[in-house]
Symmetry: D2
Subunit: 149 residues, 4 copies
Amino acid sequence: MGLSERRLKIGVMGASSCDARTAALAEDVGRFIARAGAVLICGGGAGVMEAASRGASRSGGLVVGILPAEDESKANPYVGIPIVTGMGNARNAINALTCHSLIAISGGPGTLSEIALALKVGTPVVGLTVRPRPSRLSKSRLNSPRLVY
Amino acid sequence: MGLSERRLKIGVMGASSCDARTAALAEDVGRFIARAGAVLICGGGAGVMEAASRGASRSGGLVVGILPAEDESKANPYVGIPIVTGMGNARNAINALTCHSLIAISGGPGTLSEIALALKVGTPVVGLTVRPRPSRLSKSRLNSPRLVY
Amino acid sequence: MGLSERRLKIGVMGASSCDARTAALAEDVGRFIARAGAVLICGGGAGVMEAASRGASRSGGLVVGILPAEDESKANPYVGIPIVTGMGNARNAINALTCHSLIAISGGPGTLSEIALALKVGTPVVGLTVRPRPSRLSKSRLNSPRLVY
Amino acid sequence: MGLSERRLKIGVMGASSCDARTAALAEDVGRFIARAGAVLICGGGAGVMEAASRGASRSGGLVVGILPAEDESKANPYVGIPIVTGMGNARNAINALTCHSLIAISGGPGTLSEIALALKVGTPVVGLTVRPRPSRLSKSRLNSPRLVY
């Protein structure tokens, strides 16, 4: 796979722990990335990162995990190529430079820093989140169940 | 200056270009930090960073600039100790870990990433900005001119 | 490619410019790595890195380039997955942690730093170089032309 | 301390554990650096780094420690300004760029990587070590006890 075949790299960033609906969303995103022939770049950890990695890997995609740790055993099992930085959150700047675009799913300050670093260097960012569980009163508005994760 | 005298390190983060009122605010903050006996940590650049450095330096304080560039000539003239990282925005993670607390003044995505990285590692953050210039209608609310920068 | 298929990662480090015999050696090493089913990790630049990347890429292997620059256009054309660190020589520490073993071919201080960083974290290192051009007197010792690059 | 007073920064690199004679050498070097009015830059750790820091600090000098850890409690007690990188050996590249010159004392692969990174970016390096303990036979050559550490 050389220059002529150099593939699109899409990053998925998000919390290292998440609820089932957020994981389902992330897994779908990973699947779509793989089916589109792009490489999934992520932090290689658990939660949103693992769910997206699982989606991509099970669809035959390649997953690159840019790990904060010094040890690749910390990568989730769906990471095909762990990049072991040993530099903690400083690796977030690598994600921002490496991805052609970045999808942020849920997440806290770590994910916010990746969004900000991406914007700083001009990498396009899309934010996704699950719809809050509808209360009884608003249930009637749920007319598009395919969008609910 | 050893352990017993190890001083508080306060970070000032912000845009690398700013208007005069923001610069005046940053310079005051730098001055207060120096007078309190703390070391000013900043990115070593222009704008808010330079104004804060000038305030601290002119009050006899020590300014450490953690530079993204590979060359210390890029440091503003008030930086006493340039730390030359050569690692671009990845150095923002160093600021977040090094400062005991961080003051963000104005700024864009770069500053946002520093705020997020600080919150991620538990470093307290304070955000400051200048009050928007009052329109005629709201002028009567300006009863505290000492707060206006 | 998930955990069960996680492949060996072999690094090739060396000078960013080199003579033809050194390039031929590096290209052969890249070819052997690809044929063994391993991923080639390199700095993504020219010289030894490009020759090894060419060898691996032309044998159907995957090449990951961990770039010092902020821009993936700096990668040699055989890099399939550029990791854009924007952190100059600090990325050498990533190479040392990421590779399961590292082959150093020729090179100067940059390559030496990668060897040292690899030894520091326990990554095995092999050094290769071309045989000095034989003088007339020693020519008779040249009985194994297949080893000469 | 601004630009006009920006001081020379001398790095001392070396093993994180060392024997008493090497420590004595490092402490002397730290003392000389402080007396010359320069800032001592080091990795902030134990062994050679701590001995040099002690020498500089006790002579009234300023010690900046560029720490690999994520926590400044890891700094030796003579470090006045800990820079907390959280990026392991990647911080060696910062030392190489930050120091105006670098003195390597004893040490293993980590120190070797710092020497190589310094040479790579053009920072002058001096290597020092203690004289091997003289055997009986060579004892008569010991005519300059002031040089023995």
